[in-house]
């Protein structure tokens, strides 16, 4: 049975978190100004940016869907009703971030370690994924790192490995669910998917959300965030792109010359990570956007 360290911290312990989220000790990540066109396939844009490491802590869920749940005995020792628990003994991915902008487009590159490439979301499979979270309004004060709170919304950009694989034609339905081939597909399919599309578009790899606390995450009507990821040598590298001007008030305000904050979450499909089961940066990372030159 896996041991959760006695030092494990309960996520719902707000006192502890507010202390953590003061974030004063963290070195800011700088979104560096570059005088170059920024596109998803231009790797050179990050040459001048400094790779900054981001510390992640693993979060376990007591009602985890897989075998990796927090052992009941251990949660009892913690004397808590928590459903989500910081698991300091679990290995968290090592992550670095690089970011640039050219006055028109912002590009944020995240690289993290992951021993396995998981590109399926089906009956019992779970994908790798990464998300960046920002306050929607840039200010000196940060909203709650627990996905914002009422009146203090956050903007979340989530890239999904399954959609990336689908875009690249590496994903087939019959491999991930039973009774697929030769079955008639009725008209209801088009009606349902017209009403509730799985992805914003066939080419999507990313979702742009707004949230005001747990359980409030909502897809934005406009989906201005694009991302592209690839897996190589035990590492995922994902590059997020967005216009520096935001599409709506629910998108993150990224103003050249100003500061804001960022938080990161990583899901490992191999661990059946989904929902609150993930590794998170836990504290707001100060983000400085260099002035355009």
């Amino acid at each position: 049975m896996r041991k959760v360290l006695a030092a494990a911290v309960v996520v719902t312990c707000l006192v502890m978190l507010s202390a953590l989220s003061s974030a004063a000790m963290l070195e800011p990540v700088t979104i560096k100004y570059v005088n170059k066109p920024i596109t998803a396939d231009n790797a050179d844009i990050f040459n001048s940016a400094k790779a900054q490491s981001v510390g992640l802590i693993s979060v376990s869920q007591s009602n985890h869907l897989g075998s990796g749940a927090v052992p009941a005995g251990d949660t009892k020792k913690l004397q808590t009703n928590a459903r989500y628990i910081f698991d300091l003994s679990a290995e968290a991915p090592a992550m670095t971030v690089k970011a640039v902008h050219n006055g028109k487009t912002v590009a944020i590159q995240v690289t993290w370690t992951d021993k396995t490439e998981n590109v399926e979301t089906a009956i019992d499979s779970f994908r790798d994924s990464v998300a960046l979270m920002f306050p929607t309004a840039a200010s000196e004060f940060n909203p709650s790192p627990l996905m914002g709170s009422k009146g203090e919304p956050v903007n979340i950009w989530q890239w999904r490995a399954d959609w990336q694989a689908e875009k690249e034609g590496r994903r087939h339905l019959e491999a991930r669910q039973p009774q697929t081939e030769g079955i008639h597909v009725g008209y209801s399919d088009a009606i349902m998917k017209g009403e509730f599309p799985g992805k914003p578009s066939a080419e999507s790899t990313t979702l742009d959300y707004v949230a005001e606390g747990y359980g409030t995450i909502t897809r934005l009507k406009e989906q201005p965030v694009k991302a592209s990821g690839h897996y190589k040598d035990g590492k995922w590298t994902v590059v997020f792109l967005r216009d520096i001007n935001r599409a709506s008030g629910s998108d993150a305000e990224l103003l050249p010359g100003k500061n804001t904050f960022m938080n990161v979450a990583v899901w490992n499909g191999q661990n059946r990570d989904v929902n609150g089961s993930k590794a998170i940066s836990t504290v707001w990372i100060p983000l400085h956007i260099e002035a355009a030159k």
């Binding site: 007591s62 009602n63 869907l65 897989g66 927090v70 009941a72 949660t75 009892k76 808590t80 009703n81 928590a82 459903r83 979301t121 089906a122 009956i123 019992d124 499979s125 339905l173 991930r176 669910q177 039973p178 009774q179 697929t180 079955i183 008639h184 597909v185 009725g186 008209y187 209801s188 399919d189 349902m192 998917k193 009403e195 509730f196 599309p197 799985g198 992805k199 747990y214 359980g215 409030t216 995450i217 989904v274 929902n275 609150g276």
Partner: protein
């Protein structure tokens, strides 16, 4: 966790939310003794609701053979093992519900996510018998049968304390106050699969092309019009009676569901010990030994079987009601039996069904005097 009263286990239990009774509660009674396992219910549901990509494997309504079948495989045994069984003491369940078992481990609901393989054999164990082999010349002339199987038709139980609702971290699953139907809001579902893991009956299912979970919707567009769901209406064996169930302390004797469940106690919930207070009730199969049935339908099994075997043929009301099953496309909210004819009424009081307890029949002599001819009647 909040204390709620679950009448099926005859005690208070812990549940995640306050669950006030809806204005009406969707319910149905299935007479297992009449189910022939034809799967017409399964197919009418399938063609109505789940013909899309990502839904190929889904059967919101399914019929499995017990004891060996299950869709997904061993959905019930796996959960029974997890909650560890429990004794009934004079109608009160003394074991742990899925909510109580989960609370020990700081979870909302004790459950599990079935594997891909488990959904792959919806008809596994079909017609497989328990109790040994059937030998040549063997004749079974007593109840219960030493060798047995039975069909168990299943859909979402639209539970009064739904585990899918309790386990959803973002309240995308909800129970409608107007009719107690449990639905997943597709615009809110994030596809976390906690409802799939939490539902003891495994009726929410994950759609791998919309990345959301789906479930039986109780054909709510039909129910809103006062009509039976597809699976109820198209049942060939006429084993199903759909309606609205009242609380146990206020049964209405002219309400078909209340009469069967509360008054006569002939129809029983499926695995009441799970604690969700399911609303599809079953008349247990009388040919099956009671220990297995008690595990599945609770301690009321012996009484229900006694009523079915001994009371029905002496009770014109009950006999009439059983004949009324499947007699109209409209939901019969009231019934009556007059002059050996069962009458069913819709919610407006309109007569929608008349079913004679005994069909009129004529016995014809094999010799026809008028024509001076013999007829070779086939018996």
């Amino acid at each position: 966790m909040i204390d709620v009263f679950n009448w099926q286990i005859n005690r208070k239990m812990k549940y995640t939310y306050e669950s006030p009774a809806p204005q009406k509660q969707f319910a149905a009674v299935f007479d297992i003794n009449k189910c022939i396992g034809c799967q017409t219910c399964t197919i009418t549901c399938k063609t109505s609701w789940t013909t899309g990509r990502g839904q190929e494997y889904m059967f919101w309504n399914n019929v499995e053979s017990k004891p060996y079948g299950g869709y997904p495989l061993y959905w019930d045994f796996k959960l029974l093992e997890k909650i560890g069984g429990g004794k009934w003491n004079a109608g009160t369940y003394e074991g742990k519900t899925i909510f109580e078992k989960a609370a020990e481990e700081n979870k909302n609901v004790e459950g599990f996510l079935p594997d891909l393989e488990d959904w792959s054999y919806p008809n596994m164990g079909e017609d497989e018998i328990y109790g040994g082999s059937v030998n040549k010349g063997m004749h079974i002339n007593s109840l219960p049968h030493p060798i047995w199987f039975y069909y168990l038709p299943r859909l979402c139980n639209h539970c009064s304390h739904p585990a899918c609702v309790a386990n959803c971290p973002r309240q995308a699953v909800y129970k409608r106050p107007e009719d107690g139907i449990v639905l997943i809001d597709q615009s809110r579902c994030q596809g976390y699969r906690q409802c799939v893991a939490g539902c003891p009956y495994k009726k929410p299912m994950f759609n791998a092309t919309t990345y959301r979970s789906e479930k039986c919707v109780a054909c709510y567009p039909k129910v809103e019009q006062g009509l039976h769901t597809q699976c109820m209406e198209h049942c060939i064996g006429k084993i199903r009676m759909q309606g609205w169930i009242s609380p146990p302390d206020a049964p209405k004797a002219d309400n078909p569901i209340d009469y069967l469940v509360h008054v006569k106690k002939l129809a029983l919930p499926l695995y009441p010990q799970f604690g969700t207070q399911p609303n599809i009730y079953y008349i247990p199969p009388i040919h099956v030994p009671t220990p297995y049935l008690k595990q599945m339908f609770g301690p009321g099994v012996e009484q229900a079987i006694k009523v079915y075997k001994e009371e029905v043929h002496n009770d014109p009301i009950l006999k009439g009601l059983l004949v009324l099953f499947g007699s109209a496309p409209e939901i019969m909210t009231k019934f009556d039996v007059k002059n050996d004819v069962a009458l069913g009424y819709d919610s407006k009081g309109t007569l929608v069904a008349q079913a004679p307890i005994t069909e009129p029949n004529v016995v014809r002599e094999s010799y026809d005097k008028a024509r001076d001819a013999y007829r070779l009647d086939t018996p």
